[in-house]
């Protein structure tokens, strides 16, 4: 074997623009989707041993032999990539850390290069770019029609390569929208890219972590919502069906919609950077140079392997791609200035300054025991420590004197169970016996349990601690404060979006409240 070092990267020869997938209604009349489908079909025909095959590229995101075999994507008798190749390339995705966004940007870039190569080989345009799915735009919250079972206009040969049976469980043509009830753009209001795994929102991009970690918790703001929720809502099973491919990191990239979802997440990162001068990526070497123990590596057309670090993912101009639109479906729902005004600040703040990055985070209270989830939902009381609750009250009161109010979070800690595809809705102070659907104003937020099954395995990479979610409940706490004061406890109701499959054991280790402020 002769090793030859050459200069090559997935950066396109000419600058390209990633388009909205809903051009021409998101059907096969959209040439971007038609060429994508042709390239996907070509990759799906390649053998698994080819690192640029569809399945091998999906395995870069995540791979579990037993799971893949169970859904027909793995055959032990089929030639496999060499063990060294599997070790180097497979199961790399970075979740729950500040590497989530840069790792996925490089993954998309390399995938796009492989697809473009197949597009060109089939006679398509050399400037083809990956479309994005803007599910926050009006009328675009359903999967683009070209990806559905009933898609019209696929010229063949063979079945529509953009459709997979394992989407929406066993009912793949049901309402495919990712409900606006569950997903939101609150993360776009985060001022800091990086945070910590200590009870508060772990930043826009994720908590600080120095090593390569193929999945840990909690997830960063953008990752938890909308990223996780879109994964889980697209892969949500019904009563009979197994979870869809998108609901688990180990299978998600097998679904062709995965790549359009992540193009939108990547677009949201770029939009976040451009909305405020304070919105910057980390500048410390530990982020720029990537994990200390392992690099990121992607196969490219022609048998090359490209390695990269977060520093290389910093500027779209250097990467020679941009997005058709960076404003549509990217604006956060509320501003900090509006919050101050509600709390009676003398002069509304001009900018978006919230509590500073080095603020204290501390526990305010928690419920007293683990919860076993049932389809009808569970209710618990989070007891608040009087002294810490008074700190929160003081900070809210001080706003009138120019102080910075605390932010407050509700954590669902150590959620465990084989519950890929489950979305939990969390309500605060729901009237006893009320139907949650009648009280959307009490909804604190939703949690898509993306990766919970793997995180619940005692011998899995997360030690069995499960999924920990963080929901900001600052608005609810503000309302309680303005209505007369914070109570001794918060009644929290957790309801699965859909009934749990019979026999599913799903538990929440603790429900807790944290404050972040002085």
């Amino acid at each position: 074997m002769l090793e030859v070092h050459i200069v090559i990267s997935p950066v396109p020869a000419q600058a390209v623009v990633r388009p909205n997938a809903y051009a021409k209604g998101g059907s096969f009349n959209n040439p971007d989707l038609l060429w994508y489908a042709r390239a996907v079909a070509a990759m799906q025909r390649r053998p698994l041993a080819d690192p640029t095959s569809w399945r091998s590229y999906a395995a870069i995101h995540g791979f579990d032999q037993q799971t893949w075999a169970g859904i027909g994507f793995w055959d032990a008798n089929e030639p496999q990539p060499a063990p060294a190749v599997q070790t180097k390339l497979w199961a790399q995705c970075q979740h729950g850390s500040w590497y989530f966004l840069p790792w996925h940007r490089g993954y998309l870039l390399a995938f796009e290069a492989v697809v473009r190569d197949a597009v060109v080989a089939a006679g398509g345009p050399a400037d083809w770019a990956l479309p994005y799915w803007d599910y926050f735009e009006n009328g675009q919250d359903a999967i683009p029609p070209a990806f559905t079972k009933d898609a019209q206009g696929w010229p063949g040969p063979g079945p529509n390569p953009l459709f997979v049976d394992l989407r929406f469980g066993s009912d793949p043509v049901s309402d495919g929208s990712v409900s606006g009830t569950d997903i939101n753009l609150s993360a776009m209001a985060e001022n800091h890219f990086v945070g910590n795994a200590n009870g508060a929102i772990p930043g826009f991009g994720g908590p600080r972590l120095n090593r390569f970690d193929h999945g840990t918790f909690p997830h960063g703001g953008l990752e938890q919502n909308p990223h996780d929720l879109v994964h889980v809502l697209v892969g949500e099973p019904d009563q009979q069906g197994p979870p869809g491919l998108m609901s688990s990191p180990d299978t998600a990239a097998l679904d062709p919609i995965f790549w359009l979802h992540h193009a939108n997440i990547d677009r949201l990162w770029e939009a976040w950077r451009r909305t405020d001068p304070a919105h910057t990526d980390p500048t410390v070497q530990r982020w720029l140079q990537g994990p200390t123990d392992r690099g990121f590596a992607m196969p490219l057309p022609g048998g090359t392997t490209w390695t990269y670090a977060p520093a290389d993912m910093d500027a779209l101009t250097a990467l020679k791609y941009s997005y058709e639109d960076l404003t549509s479906g990217t604006a956060p729902p509320a501003t900090f200035a509006a919050r101050l005004e509600r709390l009676g600040a003398p002069e509304p703040a001009a900018g978006g300054t919230t509590v500073p990055e080095d603020s204290n985070v501390e526990l305010v209270g928690a419920n007293d025991q683990a919860l076993a989830m049932v389809s009808a939902g569970v209710r618990t009381t989070v007891r608040l420590d009087a002294a810490v609750r008074d700190k929160v009250t003081a900070s809210l009161t001080d706003v009138a004197g120019g102080g910075t109010p605390d932010r407050v979070y509700l954590d669902l800690e150590n959620i465990r169970g084989p519950a890929d595809g489950v979305t939990l809705r969390v309500y605060i102070d729901l009237p006893e016996g009320a139907d949650p659907a009648d009280h959307p104003e009490r909804l604190a937020g939703s949690v898509g349990l993306f990766g919970v099954t793997a995180a619940s395995r005692r011998d899995g990479r997360h030690g069995g601690d499960g999924y920990t979610a963080v929901l900001e409940i600052t608005r609810t706490v503000d309302d309680l404060h303005l209505a007369g004061g914070l109570p001794d406890g918060l009644d929290v109701t957790i309801v699965p979006r859909r009934p749990l499959p019979p026999g599913m054991e799903l538990s929440v280790g603790r429900v807790s409240v944290y404050r972040q402020g002085r």
Partner: protein, 248 residues
């Protein structure tokens, strides 16, 4: 640096400082008295010897085990009411060291018995036992459990009892993982003991840096530390030519 990072650094710094002080005392003890930490002979002991044995074991455990506790201690620090942090961490450490002291006494007795019964091959017996244990899936399973950080009640007696139990449980998984290495330390003899202790402590830290892994037969070598050392800093820029092509 964000507040959480400062807290984590503070927790790590405190534990490492205490461990370093313990190592210093062990070093002084070795130089001045020929070494006694943790390898007394319980069978020969009256109360004073037992106290001496416990003190030696505590010193040994502080030196070797405290750096391993950064993750669970930070977990408790960040997930407890601020006014209860000191109490919670103290109870965890008490539970943890109580478990280890009991196991350490037992291991010391076993080491003493081995040294008396088979003075020559004692070390070889322990090394063989260690190698066998380290190749079993059961050991990996125990090691995986040391990564578990369960949620704890936040208030009152229930919180106290739960965290004490967490400390004890954490110790039990730790003991199940490390008993053979600790036995090796105890049979090494006074002269070799500090060196073996240091080597074992390094191994334990390196092993704890690994993520949990599927249990399987075979010696599991921790590689994260080595990869960090070998990798150092990644080359400057991927886009300036770090692509490798393998051609036949």
């Amino acid at each position: 640096m964000a507040a959480g990072s400062q807290d984590l650094a503070q927790v790590r710094g405190t534990l490492v400082t205490i461990a370093a002080a313990a190592w210093l005392l062990i070093g002084v003890d070795t130089v001045s008295m020929g070494g006694s930490a943790g390898h007394g002979d319980a069978a020969a002991g009256g109360p004073l010897e037992l106290v001496s044995l416990a003190a030696g074991l505590l010193l040994m455990l502080a030196a070797m085990m405290l750096p391993l506790l950064a993750a669970p201690v930070y977990h408790l620090w960040s997930r407890s009411l601020a006014r209860r942090r000191g109490r919670v961490i103290t109870l965890f450490v008490v539970g943890y060291f109580a478990g280890w002291l009991a196991a350490g006494g037992l291991l010391t007795a076993v080491a003493g018995t081995l040294r008396h019964a088979v003075p020559g091959p004692a070390l070889a017996v322990v090394v063989a036992s260690m190698l066998v244990w380290h190749t079993t899936p059961a050991r990996t399973r125990c090691l995986n459990r040391t990564h578990s950080h369960p949620a704890q009640p936040a208030f009152g007696l229930a919180g106290d009892v739960a965290v004490l139990r967490f400390g004890l449980t954490h110790a039990l998984w730790c003991i199940a993982t490390c008993w053979a290495l600790m036995l090796l330390t105890l049979v090494a003899g006074p002269r070799a003991e500090p060196v073996v202790m240091a080597a074992v402590a390094f191994w334990l830290v390196a092993e704890r840096l690994e993520r949990p892994a599927p249990p399987r037969w075979g010696l599991q070598i921790p590689t994260t530390v080595a990869r960090q050392v070998l990798r150092g800093r990644p080359p400057a820029s991927a886009l300036r030519g770090r692509t490798r092509r393998t051609a036949s």
